[in-house]
Subunit: 428 residues, 2 copies
């Protein structure tokens, strides 16, 4: 198996997430790009810092030149954050003809232009899916899936910390300060939460999305910004009373060739799909003139979700350079997977029967379920007419085959008039 | 501007949608792929059939050879449906070294393998985003965005007709037959609705998604299938009582290298994001071991949403062949778009004030709003303590600048103690 060597600049949350994914999902990655991806070097500030993930000492460095001068390293992955030296390191990597992947929204929003045009000029690839929406593939969506559309608007919950706080305020009647403390305790908010709660983070991400969606340069200082610190529980209550939910929304619209760009707490109908995106989840709602309304939702942060986007970018870079047919070959030679016998599938069940209104029927039916290992969580009985009653069972998890066998016996019981309905109950 | 010529096989719903998009969104398409896309030929059964969209007579044909032998046609777009002659035409196009785009789920689910390997062997591209989920980019999601993941499960509402019927049954207490009739009247269900309501359509789409997500061949006859015809209003009512919603779900899971594949009506918690996907909307809920939970939702059918996916595929094909740097150049030379002055933005507003409990205050405030053209939809008044009351206004749509100017005046009124809160109300 051939290998592609990459370097990680930064080995914090996301860097370690990327490392874990490269190791855990070796097989999937190989299938999807035809290569094994190997981390050849890792740049950190402090080599002696204890880290949750262990890596060989020999690949850790504090000198960017170890990476820039290493001809074997084809892809540089910037996960340090901040503006400098990240920008300088990315530019030097591009100029050393290395492809670059980054998760750095600050850089993209402020000097994205310069980075993209440098990559173009050097003839190398530059990807940044993780910079907006963490694991949600919103950049690829705009750049590759919705290319047939004139995008009319993008509305997003693109900051997990503030969504978590607003959810707590709304669902558990917490005040802002209390909800913020809980977010900090859970690791969703940083010690200094300014960038999140004052909506700077959302502004950067909106600048990135809007520039792609509306094919123009967007200066993030032209975006109206208002954070969530002033939201009072009283307002949350009024919102509910009027049928609304308060969310921190990033809003980008194009109307008559002019852009409207703003980030602020917003009341939206409680029935809008975005109103039900809670906790630290992110969501992006896009209107295109062909596709109509499109909603994407998922984890906007965290080591693995963000790493998913970063590693996805690495794979794209390799695929763009590799021969796609060899991947086709790998895929067509994979062993077939067995489809499980449906009788072995398990599920909970809702079962509705019509039975004669006679003492002992329920006992008889319960006994049959018992014989077949189908255990009952609840029974509801309702009179239908003078002769028959409806019995509704909810089962615990049971095997399909056992349920269908038990139903055959139950159907044949004297006092059972009809098996009216069997519907599986699932949790995902 | 250089042109890429394509041919459409079929000019029904989707074919005409593609035509409309190519015309309406010429500029966006050019920006995104660097070329103008021109329809060189259209294949139909009946040249004299009246059609809603007019096209030049000279490009319409009933002979596939007109297209196969036309060296200028680089991409063939199959939108006829059915298995034959679609399959034969696709194979012949691939062998004539033309790239192919199709929306044909039946073909993909049954002979997808053969089509993909033929395209590979001929060294041409083959795309089929529209075959599952209409405008929702689920294929690209699995194939390109989630490549870093081991996908654990895919759960989808992938048939709009049945989702529409179940929504009507649940929200308007219709019976199945009545809801089906309404779906037919609205054009969501066909005269013969078997393929939708008996879930064959969902089975095909699940076969396509599962084969990609789990990297294996999936035989659609190995998928358990159960339609929605037997769902009774009584069951819908019980589901509500227990906190569930009934949806027709396509479920694919991989557990210990074995697949579980099934399509059936399912009760899921009313709080699950998928439970709130209503009417003819589709949704796909994917669990990856890195990305976590990801939800995609949008229009699963219709001329423009489906056309959005088809044209997106056409653009991808062109981009893969074109020099990406020339697109970069086009993009970097686009005129800058103006960001609208925030004072000109319009919104509805929720405004909460604390005022002295004195007759005439409300009138004074209302007069100021009137001066600034801010029209009031509703006022709520609540006593806070013996001296002050809370006034909550909901406005009609008003200009940001007018609202902020009116607030400055209102703030200065003698009996106004505090502007407690201003939150914008939006609809999307
Ligand atoms: N965390 C998320 O969920 C998330 C989500 C989306 C995007 N992002 C973006 O991903 C990037 C990384 O975030 P993170 O949360 O992983 O940050 P982090 O945990 O703070 O890690 C930063 C890493 O960069 C290294 N580093 C910083 N400055 C350096 C320098 N001058 N030279 C060498 N190494 C340096 C640090 O080295 P030491 O370990 O030696 O200190 C550390 O390993 C940021 O751009 C962030 O905005 C993060
Ligand atoms: N409709 C949707 O919303 C949707 C969504 C996703 C996927 N799809 C898929 O897209 C495809 C097309 O669907 P549609 O709704 O557009 O179908 P449609 O409205 O029935 O149109 C079919 C077109 O194909 C032409 N055609 C059929 N057989 C032909 C033959 N043997 N030779 C030449 N032309 C032939 C017809 O010609 P005449 O006009 O002369 O009869 C007609 O123009 C199907 O595979 C469908 O599953 C549709």
């Amino acid at each position: 198996m051939e290998k592609v060597k990459i370097a990680l600049l930064g080995f914090g949350n996301v860097g370690q997430g990327v490392w874990k994914i490269l190791n855990t999902n070796k097989r999937e990655i190989m299938i999807n790009c035809g290569y094994e991806v190997e981390v050849g070097k890792i740049l950190v500030r402090d080599k002696n810092k204890p880290r949750a993930v262990e890596v060989p000492d020999s690949i850790v460095t504090t000198d960017i030149n170890d990476i820039l001068s290493d001809k074997d390293i084809k892809i540089v992955v910037e996960l340090m954050g901040g503006s400098e030296p990240s920008k300088e390191y990315i530019l030097s990597s591009l100029k050393a003809k290395k492809h670059v992947v980054t998760a750095n929204k600050l850089l993209l929003a402020t000097v994205g232009d310069e980075l993209i045009s440098t990559a173009d000029a050097e003839g190398v690839q530059f990807y940044y899916e993780a910079s907006v929406g963490g694991g949600i593939p919103v950049i690829r969506e705009i750049n590759e899936s919705l290319t047939a559309n004139k995008i009319e608007s993008i509305v997003g919950i693109i900051n997990g910390t503030t969504n978590y706080i607003l959810t707590k305020m709304s669902q558990e009647s917490m005040g802002f300060e209390e909800a913020l403390k809980e977010a900090q305790a859970k690791g969703y908010a940083e010690a200094d939460p300014t960038s999140d709660v004052e909506a700077y983070d959302s502004v950067y991400k909106l600048a990135i999305m809007a520039s792609l969606a509306f094919s123009t340069k967007v200066d993030s200082s032209s975006i109206y910004r208002e954070g969530i610190c002033k939201i009072d529980s009283i307002d949350i209550d009024y919102a509910k009373k009027f049928g609304y939910v308060i969310k921190l929304l990033a809003i980008g619209k194009e109307i008559d060739n002019e852009l409207e760009l703003r980030v602020h707490p917003t009341m939206i109908s409680k029935n809008h799909p975005i109103a039900n995106i809670n906790d630290s989840f992110n969501a992006i709602f896009i209107k295109g003139n062909a596709v109509g309304d499109l909603l994407l939702s998922g984890r906007g942060a965290g080591d693995l979700p963000t790493g998913s986007a970063v590693v996805g970018d690495i794979i794209s870079i390799i695929r763009n350079k590799a021969d796609l047919r060899s991947i086709g070959e790998i895929k067509s030679n994979l062993p077939l997977k067995k489809v499980k016998d449906f009788n072995e599938a398990t599920s909970r069940y809702y079962i509705r029967l019509q039975v004669a209104d006679i003492a002992g029927v329920l006992g008889e039916i319960a006994a049959v379920f018992g014989q077949y290992d189908v255990s009952i969580l609840s029974v509801n009985q309702e009179v239908i007419d003078k002769d028959s009653v409806s019995l509704v069972f909810i089962t615990h998890s049971a095997k399909e085959g056992n349920v269908s066998n038990s139903m055959k016996v139950i159907e044949s019981l004297d006092h059972v008039n009809q098996i009216a309905s069997i519907i599986r109950i699932e949790e995902f």
